[in-house]
């Protein structure tokens, strides 16, 4: 069911507009609509000026940047909560000033520290690259000619392009007049390092040539050349130590800043984000020369509370007018669910798929009845039902603050009960384990033993029967909607569809010799009249739609098919465990396979139950596309 919504208009003196906005924000009950668009017809209403949103938005970006830097790594480890300051007495301007002040205090220092840290990280990476290269080529040092006036350069070449050495060799030979030497060694899996020694006189020409050929040349910095390689390695290690120490010092400084400011920054960010949301809504408020105007939708049960709140604060200065219901306007009203506790969790599905329009029938209670039934029929296992129930209860308890997770686990808790009941009917406890142990057996109802592995055809007929009922329920709701909105053609179309599908089913039953021949004339008459209604109500598309509706009904076979697949997997788990020979190994295999099956059982039946509703059921009567009620105010927790 949906809450009854009322449209209200709040008018007050312009001088009090800040107070009125704050009061409405604190009340958190009004879903705003654009006053300028709605009320500019008789009197010119102008939008309120949007108040320094850019300043607050840029401050928020800065604060979030600081928070992200200060919350990284170990900076938050030893933070005491003493940094927390009570901002409740400050006005919004003072909160903004406080944010700007802190930002000014730490911005320069934090930027310098971060820049230096980045520089050091780059140096560290470069040095470790040099170290790796020098370590690789140091065994070749003995082969290098010890000649004054010669330069050494290192080339890194991909192994697959090793042949390029043979290509560049003649060119280098020509440039250096044959005064050069190549020595190569594997650097890693993909690269080889080549040391090239040549006369310094030709250095520029050689480097230019290598550059022009795109050869990856590593020039070891000046401070590590002109010395034996092991000395260079030692020097690199020393420099690395210095860099690491400096990074550690910077981290310590950032941690100090973090312990002093992080909590305050987080509080300010939270407050300013709220403030930003509040002032961003200003463009929906209106003003005339002397008045301030707010309009919006409010659930009927919150009207008195909100009016009282405004009159306590402003007395007669602020007028609240509850607008009379207007069918055209009500089409645009936001939707606010008002369901009993057992239906509430299923609002989650309605919101993620598409919420109903305000004047539409809300199918959430029907979803709350059929979803658990479908889920139970598919999973149908006492053991799985108990595991899903316990698992969902635990997750629900530990993550109750996460709204969507709490809703999903509530749905699973409700759905686990029919799962256990159907498990009892099908005689399943972890597949055939219960039956194998002699604990339970499939029930015999209506002359059928409901063992899912053996009663495939009765189960198929049962699920198709459920499909017929569910689709007919959808069509009936379609008729109800058409009656409410005075669409006689739609009524005939839906009735025609129900009659035609009934006629086809009766024909099938007749050919299966389940209906006496004497009824044939009535069946034919029913079908013909129904097709006539269908053509009158929905045109030729209505007739084509018959195939769609029959397909929808057949689609309910999935209730049997997915369930059967789950039973087969459970039985396979038990048989594999049985054939393992070693008890413990068998138990482990069974637990693993059953866990996998339960995880699938929580996911797949949910998706398919929702799908049966959204695709097969809703298509018969539901339009959707409503706007969820989103009140202007502090986020409710």
């Amino acid at each position: 069911m949906l809450q009854k919504m009322k449209r209200i208009l709040v008018v007050g003196p312009k001088s009090d507009y800040m107070g009125i906005i704050d009061e409405l924000y604190e009340a958190g009950t009004l879903h705003l609509e654009d006053v300028v668009k709605e009320y500019s017809i008789d009197v010119p209403v102008l939008p309120m000026e949007v108040y320094n949103t850019d300043d607050i938005s840029s401050l928020l970006i800065k604060l979030r940047g600081f928070i992200s830097v200060l919350s990284q790594g170990n900076h938050t480890k030893n933070i005491s909560l003493k940094g927390s300051v009570d901002y409740s007495d400050l006005t919004w301007d003072e909160v903004t000033d406080e944010g700007l002040e802190i930002s000014e205090e730490i911005e320069l220092e934090l930027k310098t520290l971060e820049a230096r840290k980045l520089e050091l990280e780059v140096s560290k990476n470069t040095l470790s690259r040099y170290k790796k290269i020098i370590q690789k080529i140091s065994p070749l040092e003995a082969h290098l000619p010890r000649l004054e006036g010669f330069e050494v350069t290192i080339l890194i070449i991909l192994k697959e392009f090793e042949s390029v050495l043979q290509v560049i060799k003649p060119f280098l030979s020509e440039i250096t007049h044959n005064q050069f030497e190549f020595i190569s060694a594997d650097l890693d899996e993909k690269n080889i390092a080549v040391i090239c020694v040549f006369n310094k006189r030709y250095a520029t020409k050689v480097h230019d040539f290598l550059y022009s050929k795109n050869v990856n040349e590593v020039r070891i910095p000046q401070e590590y050349t002109n010395m034996p390689l092991n000395e260079a390695l030692f020097l690199i290690d020393e420099d690395m130590k210095k860099i690491l120490n400096e990074i550690e010092e910077i981290n310590q400084k950032i941690t100090d800043i973090s312990s002093k400011y992080l909590k305050r920054l987080q509080d300010l960010e939270y407050l300013l984000a709220q403030r930003f949301e509040e002032i961003s809504s200003y463009k929906k408020f209106g003003q005339t020369d002397y008045t301030f105007i707010v309009s919006g939708w409010i659930p009927r049960k919150f009207i008195n509370k909100t009016i009282r709140r405004l009159s306590d604060k402003f007395g007669d200065k602020v007028v609240v007018k509850v607008q009379p219901d207007d069918n055209k306007k009500l089409e645009e009203a936001p939707v606010f669910f008002d369901n009993p506790f057992w239906v509430k969790p299923f609002e989650f599905f309605m919101l993620i798929v598409k919420p109903p329009m305000y004047r539409e029938f809300d199918p959430t209670p029907i979803l709350a009845i059929f979803f658990p039934l479908f889920f139970g029929l598919i999973v149908g296992d006492i053991g799985y039902g108990i595991v899903i129930l316990v698992f969902s209860l635990l997750i629900h308890y530990y993550f109750r603050k996460i709204r969507w997770l709490s809703q999903i686990t509530s749905i699973l808790i409700i759905s686990s009960i029919p799962t256990i009941i159907f498990g009892y009917i099908f005689g399943e406890f972890f597949g055939d384990f219960g039956e194998h142990m002699g604990w339970l057996e499939p029930l015999t109802l209506f002359g059928i033993t409901w063992n899912r592995m053996e009663s495939i055809i009765p189960l198929l007929i049962l699920t198709i029967g459920i499909g017929v009922f569910h689709v007919y329920l959808g069509l009936s709701l379609g008729i109800y909607n058409a009656v409410r909105h005075h669409h006689p053609k739609h009524i005939l179309e839906k009735l025609g569809m129900m009659g035609t599908v009934s006629g086809i089913i009766l024909f099938i039953l007749f050919f299966a010799e389940q209906v006496p021949e004497s009824y044939l004339i009535f069946i034919a008459l029913l079908t013909l009249v129904s097709i006539g209604c269908l053509i009158y109500g929905g045109g030729m598309m209505g007739v084509i739609e018959i195939m769609g509706t029959l397909g929808n009904i057949m689609s309910y076979a999935r209730l049997m098919a997915i369930g059967l697949a789950s039973v087969v997997l459970a039985i396979v788990a038990n048989q594999l465990a049985d054939e393992m020979g070693i008890l413990i190994l068998g138990v482990v295999v069974a637990i693993l396979l059953h866990t996998l099956n339960i995880m699938l059982a929580m996911f797949s039946p949910s998706i398919h139950s929702v799908r049966l509703h959204v695709v097969e059921f809703f298509s018969k009567f539901y339009k959707g596309g409503g706007v969820p009620y989103n009140p202007f105010g502090r986020e409710r927790t």
Partner: protein
């Protein structure tokens, strides 16, 4: 007594449905991922759309089961 053609027939019924579902889901999945990247609020409806072609494999499974049970 049934021969080899019964299980092969059942396998074809199931496999054809499974392959067709796979092809359809791969396309819906790719388009759905793109849509969700642009509009995260459509994720609910995309999950339902992704499940729509599963009807093919489910009906394939039903037909396969019926072939095995009914052809004696």
């Amino acid at each position: 007594m049934t021969g080899w053609e019964v299980p092969i027939g059942a396998a074809i019924a199931f496999a054809a449905g499974a392959i067709a579902t796979g092809i359809a889901q791969s396309r819906i999945g790719a388009a759905g991922a793109g849509t969700i990247a642009e509009k995260p609020e459509t994720s609910g409806i995309m999950i339902v759309l992704e499940a729509i072609p599963e009807t093919l494999v489910i009906l394939g499974f039903v037909v396969a089961a019926m072939i095995i049970i009914m052809v004696k």
